[in-house]
Symmetry: C2
Subunit: 687 residues, 2 copies
C-alpha cells in the first residue's frame, strides 16, 4: 500500500494519544466511530487506554498485523519518539494533529519529527493540522464536522478554514470526496496532494486554500497536472500583508508576490477566488453543470429587478448578456404574451408560467452557452410549476443552467427539484452569474493552448544547456547589448568610444542624431547621474557630450562612451525580468513611465512564456491600446513585441545568473521592435 | 390625516377587487388579516363579496365614515373609475397593485389614473407594484412575505426585488419598519418616500432599490435630507445596460449615466452597494452597531486562516488593518500565551479562551475604530464561552464590533447571545469586514463637510441670477475665452487677427513662440482639420500660419485667427462640463489624452462643487500623482486647479445655455492654472 493510499484508505489505524474523556484522542475516537469506519482501530497511549469498542495498547510493537496509518495527538515533545515507534512497527503514514512546532518557533522540534518520518519512509501530514477525511471510505480522523459524501476534494493549509468549509458543505449539501489539512506541511504539502488528487477517481473538483507554497515551480507542475483532469479553485490568502522586497530593477518593484501568485495560478489553468463563499459556489457549479463553451449568457426571469441586477453582475464578471437572434426573438413572440420584453434578460413578469419558462429555454438555449432561471415567489404563486418548466426546458440541452429561486421559505421544494435535475440554486442571481463566469473562465483556460508557455519549460527540467553571462562582474551596457543580440533580441547599432575622436567617428558611421551614454560597471542608474545625452546632432555636440560623460565616469571604472543612433517615432514600452522568492523568474510587460509607475498598468507571468502567452500579456495591459493604433497613429508591431517578450522570458532559464533585467525603453515601431536600453542585474546565487 | 400618514397608518382601509378564492383580492385580504391589522377593513367589488371577517360592499359611496386608504387590485381598465369613486368618497391614499399600464406601453391608461388621483388629491402608489407594509401598524397590504418588525425602511422600485429582500429579512431576522414598492411610480416615487422617511421615528436605516429616478435633482435633495438623519444604502441597477448617448464634447463622452448616478449618490452621503446581500449586511450593521469614527480595524480570531482572509478583504475595502501600539502589544504580552502573534489579526489560536477574547478586546478596542471577533468552532470547543468573552470585551467600549462565529450548527447559541448584545454575526469574516468598511465610509461622508458642494446650489434654487451667453450662435474661441475670463477662469492673453500683418503684430505683443487657431463658428473640432498651428517662432512662420488657417476657414464663416502665446512647462489636464439626462450639469476632471480616453482615469460630480469637493475630485484621479510632483517635477498648483474646477462647475447654473464645455488642455503650473483651449456647446434647451 502506497503512502497516500495508506493515508486516505487505511485498513488498520492507530490513534496515538490520551483517551481520557475530554482529551483530543477521545474526541477523535468518537468522531471516527460516528463516521462508521469499517477498518480496524487501535488506541495507543502510555496507560493502554481504549475508547468504547477501540482496544487500548501501550505500544505498537506487539502488533502482529501492520498498522497503515497513525493519527497522532500526543504531546508535542513525544511526537518524534512516537514516529520512531511507528516506523519500527511498519506504519506507512502519519497525521500529526499535535501543535507546538514551527508555528510557535519550535523549528528544531519540527526538524526532529521530519527526520523520524523520513528515516522510516512515513508519509507525514502536519504537524499542527486538523486531520483528514475520506468520505468514500467512511473515514474521518479530524475534529471538524463530518461533511457529506461527494466529489469535491478540499486541501487546506489552515485547519480552521478547512473546518469552516466542511461545515458550510453540510449546510448547503455540497458533497466532499477527500479533505486534508496539512498545517505546517513539514512532510507532505500542497503539491503532493494535488498530484495525488489528479489520479483520484472519486474527485471531480479540487478546492485549495493556501497562504504560501513550499516550492513555487513544483506547485505549478502539480497544479497544472491537476487542472488538466479537473477544475481547481484556489484561495491564496495573505494578499495585503506581504511586505515589499528590496529590488534593484524597475521591473522587480512591479512584480509583487501576490501578483506572481495570481499569474502562476492562472498559467496553470486554475481559478483564483477571494472568498470561501465564491469557492463553495463555484465548486457546486463545477459539480452540477457541464462546462460552458463560451460567455454568451441568458437570463430568464419572472422578476424584473433581480434580473437586471444579475445582468449587471454577469457583465461585470465577463459574461456577455447578449441579445437573442432575430429568429430567436421571432420564435419567442409566438408564445410569449405581448407584455414580455424579448430582450435578455427575458422577463416573463409575475405572470410567467411553467410553459413560458420551458419554451423560452428550449428556444434560446441552443444559441447561448449558459443560462440562469430566476423566480422570486410569493405564497400565492406556483413556484414548483415554474421550477418544472425550467427543468423541462434545460433537459437534454447540454448547457450549464443555474437557478435563483427565492425565498427559501416558499421555494424549498422547487430548489430540491432543480437540484435533483442537476440545476444548482444560488442565493442570488449575482452569485449564480459569478459561478457561470468562473466556469467559462476555466473552460477558456483549458480550451486555449493547454499548457502554453509554462509547458515549454519550468527551468527545472534541465533540457536546455545552462550558460554563463559574459565576464564575471556587473554587465556594462555594451556587453548587455551584445549578449541580447546573440539571444535574438534586436538592439540598435552601437559603438564604444574611448575618446572624442572615436565618438565623432561613431556618430558619422551611425548617422545623426545620436545618443551617448556613460559606460561603467559602477554606474547602474545612468540617467540619475546625467549619464545619458540625447539628441546629439553635430560634431561639436558629440565632442562636448563625450567630455561630459568622461567626467561623470572619472573615478568610477570608466570604460568609455556608448554611441547609438537615436531611435525616433514608435512607442516606448518596458520589458523586464524579476525573480520571485517562491516562483523564480518572472517576466513583466508594461508601457513604462507613468503607466507602470503610477497606474500600475502591467502584466506578468512566471517565465518562460511562448509567443501566444506573450501576446496575451500585451493585450492585458490597458494602455496597450496605444500600440494598436489609437489616436490615429499607425499600429505597432505587436507580433514582434510578443516574440521579444517570449525570448526575454527564456533568458533566466538559459542564464541562471540573470537575477533582474530592465529593457526600458523598448521601441515598438510599425515594423519591428528594438531594445534601446538594457540593465542586467547579475547574481552569483543560482536557484 | 396627511396623504403619507393615510398610506402607512390608516384607520379604515378598502380592498378593491374580486374576493373570489384564488383572486389577488382574496390573497391580500388573507395577508392583512394574518398580519392582525387593528383598523377597519372593507372589501369593494361589483358583487359586494367580502372575505371572512371583512364585510363586502358594491361601492364606497354609502360609507358614513371616511376611508383613509384604498388598496386596488381590480382589472386595469377599471382602475381610473375606481379612483374617481375613491376621490368622491374622500379616500386620501391609494395603492394600485394592478399592472397593465406604462410597463406594457399603456401610457394613456397610466395618465388617466394619475389624472383621477390628482383631481382628488389622492396620494397614489403604483400602479404595477407589490404593495406596502408598516410593521409598527401591523399593516401588510402586500402579497410578499411579511417581514419582522424593526427599523430598516425598504423602498423598492421593483416589487420582486422588494419581495426578495423581505423574505431574506425574515431569514436573517433583520427587522423592517416600512416597506413600499412603487412600481411604475406614476404618483409618488423615490423622492417622496425618502422625504417622508427622514421624519419617520420608527426608521433608523433606509434601503433603496432604484433602476432610474424621475427627477435627478429632486432625488438628490430628498436623499441628502434623508442621509442627514439616517444612513441610506442604495442599489442602482441597470449599470451595464444603459446605452451610450451621442455627445458633442469630449467631456460628454466620459460622463456615462451610471458614473453620474454613483457621483450623485455619494455627493448626498449615501452608500451605493451592488448586491442585495451587501445591502442586507450593511443594514444589519447600521442597525446594531455604533458608527465607527475611522478606519482602524482590529481582528481577534481563534482561527488563523479565516483571520488572514478577513484582513485581506478589509484592506481591499479601505479599512486599515493597523498594528497595535507598542503599549498595546506590551499589555497583550502580559496575559496572552507566548505562541499568540501580537500582530493584527491577533490570533489566539485554537487554544483561545473567553479570557483571551475579553482581555484582548478590552486592551485594544480603545485604539481601534471597529473590530471583528472570529471563531471557527468544532464540536469539542466551547463556542459560547468565547462569545461571552467577546461580549464582555466589547461591552461599554462604544466601538462597532461584529462577529463571525461558525459553523451555524455549533455556534447557533453563541450567535444568538452575540446578537442580543448588539454584536451582529456574519457568514464570513470578509462580509463582516465589508460591513464595517461601508459604515466607516458613511461616517466619513457625514463627518466631512456635510453637504459640501451639492448644498451650495442645486441649480433649481434660483437664488443666483441666470445669464445669457454672449451672442446667439455657437461661441467662437475668442468669445469663449473672454466669457471664461469674466467668470474668473484664467485664459492666456490673446489677439484676434484678421490679416497677416495683424497676426505678426499680435505675435510681437504676446512674445514668441505663439499658437494660432482658426476662428469659425462652423469649425468645432479645430485640430481635426489642421486648424491649430503650434510653435510659431518668427515672422515668416506667423505669415505662413495665418495664410494656411485663412484657407482652412474659407467658405466656413471665417472670423479670423486667434493668436496666443504658447504655454510651456506645466502639466496638461482636462476640465469639462456635460449634461446628464437625469441629473443635469456634471463637472468632469481628468489628465486628458490617453489618461481619460483609454485609461478612463477621470472623476466627476453633479455640478456645482465647492473648492474642497473639487480637491477631492483631483485626488480621486490616479494619474493626478503626476500633478503632485511625481518623477522629480515641481508640484503643480492643485489649489488653483480646484478653484478653477469649482468655478467651471458654477457656469451651467449661471448660464443655462451651456450644454457642454471642454477646457482641454488646462495648463497646471507650479503657480497657477491657465485654460489654453475652450470649446462651448450651446443649447437653446434650458432645463
Amino acid at each position: 500500500m502506497k503512502g497516500l493510499e495508506a493515508l486516505f484508505s487505511p485498513h488498520r489505524v492507530a490513534l496515538i494519544g490520551s483517551m481520557s474523556p475530554g482529551k483530543l484522542g477521545a474526541e477523535l475516537a468518537k468522531q471516527i466511530l460516528a463516521g462508521k469506519f469499517a477498518g480496524e482501530l487501535l488506541a495507543v497511549n502510555p496507560k493502554g487506554e481504549g475508547w468504547e469498542s477501540i482496544p487500548g495498547r501501550t505500544s505498537l510493537s506487539q502488533e502482529s498485523h501492520p498498522v497503515d496509518l497513525a493519527v497522532i495527538v500526543s504531546p508535542s515533545s513525544s511526537v518524534a519518539g512516537v514516529l520512531e515507534d511507528c516506523g519500527q512497527a511498519g506504519v506507512r503514514a502519519a497525521v500529526v494533529i499535535t501543535s507546538g512546532f514551527s508555528e510557535i518557533g519550535n523549528r528544531a522540534g519540527e526538524e526532529e519529527i521530519l527526520r523520524a518520518a523520513r528515516k522510516h519512509g512515513i508519509c507525514l501530514v502536519g504537524p499542527n493540522c486538523a486531520g483528514i477525511a475520506n468520505t468514500h471510505w467512511n473515514f474521518f480522523p479530524t475534529l471538524e464536522l463530518r461533511p457529506p459524501q461527494g466529489s469535491v476534494a478540499l486541501v487546506s493549509q489552515s485547519g480552521a478554514l478547512g473546518g469552516a468549509v466542511l461545515a458550510r458543505s453540510r449546510e448547503i449539501g455540497l458533497g466532499i470526496s477527500k479533505f486534508v489539512s496539512y498545517g505546517n506541511g513539514a512532510g507532505l504539502s500542497e503539491a503532493d496532494f494535488l498530484e495525488y488528487l489528479s489520479g483520484d477517481p472519486q474527485t471531480r473538483v479540487v478546492a485549495l486554500y493556501i497562504e504560501s507554497v513550499r516550492d513555487g515551480r513544483r506547485f505549478m507542475h502539480a497544479l497544472r497536472g491537476c487542472c488538466q483532469v479537473n477544475p481547481v479553485v484556489v484561495i491564496k490568502a495573505g494578499r495585503t500583508s506581504v511586505g515589499k522586497r528590496a529590488t534593484a530593477s524597475h521591473t522587480g518593484s512591479m512584480a509583487g508576490s501576490d501578483e506572481v501568485y495570481s499569474a502562476a495560478i492562472r498559467q496553470c489553468g486554475a481559478i483564483r477566488v477571494r472568498t470561501v463563499e465564491e469557492m463553495m459556489d463555484l465548486c457546486s457549479g463545477f459539480v452540477s453543470m457541464p462546462l460552458p463553451a463560451g460567455r454568451r449568457f441568458l437570463i430568464v426571469t419572472n422578476s424584473g429587478g433581480p434580473g437586471v441586477l444579475a445582468a449587471d453582475w454577469a457583465e461585470e464578471q465577463g459574461l456577455e448578456v447578449a441579445q437573442p437572434s432575430e429568429a430567436g426573438q421571432a420564435a419567442l413572440r409566438e408564445f410569449l404574451p405581448a407584455h414580455c420584453a424579448l430582450k435578455n434578460p427575458i422577463d416573463l413578469t409575475v405572470e410567467g408560467t411553467r410553459e413560458g419558462f420551458r419554451r423560452t429555454l428550449e428556444t434560446l438555449l441552443p444559441e447561448y452557452d449558459s443560462a440562469l432561471a430566476m423566480n422570486v415567489s410569493t405564497p400565492y404563486l406556483d413556484s414548483l410549476g415554474l421550477a418544472q418548466g425550467v427543468i423541462e426546458g434545460a433537459s437534454g440541452s447540454g448547457k450549464a443552467v443555474a437557478a435563483n429561486f427565492l425565498p427559501a421559505e416558499i421555494a424549498g421544494e422547487s430548489v430540491e427539484a432543480l437540484k435533483q435535475a442537476g440545476i444548482p440554486n444560488y442565493e442570488s442571481g449575482e452569485r449564480a452569474a459569478a459561478v457561470l463566469a468562473g466556469m467559462a473562465r476555466y473552460a477558456g483556460l483549458r480550451a486555449t493552448r493547454p499548457g502554453a508557455g509554462f509547458a515549454s519549460g519550468t527551468g527545472a527540467s534541465g533540457d536546455e544547456p545552462r550558460m554563463s553571462l559574459p565576464g564575471d562582474g556587473p554587465l556594462t551596457e555594451p556587453e548587455a547589448m551584445a549578449w541580447l543580440s546573440e539571444n535574438g533580441v534586436r538592439v540598435p547599432d552601437f559603438r564604444l568610444a574611448h575618446n572624442a575622436d572615436q565618438a565623432v567617428q561613431a556618430c558619422r558611421e551611425l548617422g545623426w542624431p545620436v545618443v551617448m551614454k556613460v559606460v561603467s560597471p559602477q554606474i547602474l542608474h545612468k540617467s540619475d547621474v546625467g549619464g545619458v545625452v540625447l539628441g546629439i546632432r553635430d560634431e561639436g555636440g558629440a565632442r562636448e557630450a563625450f567630455h561630459r560623460l568622461e567626467k561623470i565616469g572619472r573615478d568610477k571604472d570608466f570604460r568609455g562612451v556608448l554611441v547609438t543612433a537615436q531611435l525616433q517615432g514608435g512607442r516606448e514600452v518596458l520589458v523586464g525580468l524579476s525573480r520571485d522568492a517562491q516562483f523564480g523568474p518572472v517576466v513583466v510587460f508594461g508601457l513604462g513611465g507613468i503607466y507602470t509607475e503610477i497606474l500600475k498598468d502591467v502584466s506578468l507571468r512566471t517565465a518562460p512564456v511562448d509567443d501566444s502567452e506573450a501576446m496575451q500579456m500585451i493585450r492585458e495591459v490597458r494602455s496597450s491600446k496605444l500600440l494598436m493604433g489609437a489616436r490615429g497613429e499607425p499600429p505597432g508591431d505587436i507580433r514582434a513585441l510578443a516574440v521579444l517578450i517570449s525570448r526575454v522570458s527564456q533568458l533566466p532559464l538559459r542564464y541562471p545568473e540573470v537575477a533582474e533585467l530592465d529593457l526600458n525603453p523598448v521601441f515598438v515601431f510599425s515594423d519591428g521592435v528594438v531594445a534601446a536600453d538594457a540593465r542586467v542585474i547579475r547574481t552569483p546565487f543560482i536557484r
